[in-house]
């Protein structure tokens, strides 16, 4: 072979000469982007396996899949217990956040102290004790018709916490709303989301938005009247209207729809 051949990895230009050019004449890529082309015939057959054969390729893919699958199963199995514990802890913290007990150091202990009962609402609006395991997915519970209500006692006063779920702009949103003993005024709320835009829709998870809720009224007559409206449009004197998040109209509308959908299902309990 008189001259060597070099191929630009960026554009595929082939240069012939003793060494790669300083710059690719086609795409200006630097010398480092060139690789030498070794002629098929010129290169002696490599020792060992031919990595381009079909059998090798298929075997390689199969082995890769099996190894990765086992690895993932192993990791997932060994960590599952810890993860479930974390999720339960986090759910409890979210319930406590609705009761304005944010960032607790020992969540499980506070939860056991504050929450007196995990109950289900019956058709007539009364509460019956829930006897299952502590739940972490209140969306599926809601869809199944299991309407959970948590009873809590804060400084001797009774509060109710209702889990909510709905849709935001990009994904699911959820939250908890705590009501006073009269079942009509808001004591506190907590919202979270899976994938709302940080800085915009994501702000529903911040206290700035959530602090607008306490003291507002939930029901008017036989209807859910609590409403999240466009930022700046809330009537200051209204007992029911709350400003949404600025620049996040769709997420705010989602919060509004979620409150309406969930609390409407709880009307027998709220108006009892």
């Amino acid at each position: 072979m008189a001259t060597k051949k070099f191929r630009c990895k960026v554009c595929g230009y082939v240069h012939e000469g003793d060494k790669a050019p300083e710059k690719c004449p086609m795409c200006q890529a630097p010398q480092s982007e060139f690789e030498e082309i070794v002629e098929e015939g010129a290169a002696p057959a490599k020792k060992g396996l031919n990595t381009n054969s079909n059998v090798y390729t298929i075997l390689y893919a199969a082995v890769m899949v099996v190894v990765v699958a086992f690895l993932l199963v192993f990791v997932s199995q060994t960590l599952k217990e810890r993860q479930t514990a974390n999720v339960i802890n986090d759910t409890k913290q979210q319930i406590l956040s609705a009761l304005n007990l944010r960032d607790q150091a020992d969540v499980a202990a506070t939860y056991d102290k504050v929450i007196t009962a995990d109950a289900l609402m019956q058709a007539d609006g009364s509460l019956a004790k829930y006897n299952g395991e502590f739940n972490t997915s209140y969306k599926s519970e809601f869809d199944k018709g299991n309407l959970h209500v948590f009873e809590a006692s804060i400084n001797g006063q009774k509060k109710y916490v209702i889990p909510m779920n709905g849709l935001g702009l990009w994904g699911t949103i959820w939250g908890y709303i705590a009501l006073n003993e009269d079942r009509a005024t808001v004591y506190g709320v907590y919202f979270s989301h899976s994938s709302e835009t940080p800085g915009l829709g994501g702000e529903i998870a911040g206290t700035k938005f959530q602090d607008r809720f306490p003291g507002k009224s939930v029901v008017k007559g036989n209807e859910v009247a609590l409403k999240v409206v466009k930022f700046g449009k809330a009537d200051k004197s209204s007992q029911y209207e709350i400003d949404g998040v600025t620049g996040a109209t769709i997420t705010s509308t989602g919060v509004n729809a979620m409150i309406n959908k969930v609390l409407s299902a709880y009307l027998p309990f709220l108006t009892k």
Binding site: A61, L200, G247
Partner: protein, 206 residues
Amino acid sequence: MANKNNEALKQPMWVNNPVLVQILGICSALAVTAQLKPAIVMGLSVTIIVAMANVIISLLRNTIPNRIRIIIQLVVVAALVTIVSEILKAFAYDVSVQLSVYVGLIITNCILMGRLEAFAMQNGPWASFLDGIGNGLGYAAILIVVAFVRELFGSGTLFGFQVVPQCFYEAGYLNNGLMIMPPMALVLVGCVIWFHRAKNKDLQEN
């Protein structure tokens, strides 16, 4: 050899920056830069994952069948990201909640595939590791610059703390809503590229 490794680490930080010169990873640069905190977390996670994936692919590079190399790279990256995300869920739940969607976004980050294909397939593990760290940090640096400007002018905060004093707002100052919108990130990245090209004349195209 030592010199080459040095280059592998330093080149991508400035002269061959993945975002500014290779124009990789732009999509996530737009998505996570509305605030500083997610930008930094994303930058660090990408750094770690690129470095680890680079090492693994570099070790396997002579055995990988040429025709299915891209999918092998993808499998390695996806497996790594999944494992990291599982570990975070078990041992650092708060961080994993914060990262939420970004962990998944790492898989789709073009820097990963770009570096695996362009560097790790041809170089040894140690050089590939350094290349991964260099590219990750180069990427993180751009995210931080863009996020700094966006959060400061878009929300008046840094790391969530108010930095624009209240009296400014009382005097009629308003946060720039456009800053939070994704298009502004593109404009800012453009400005950074402009500055970068002005400093590196040899990169300018005629």
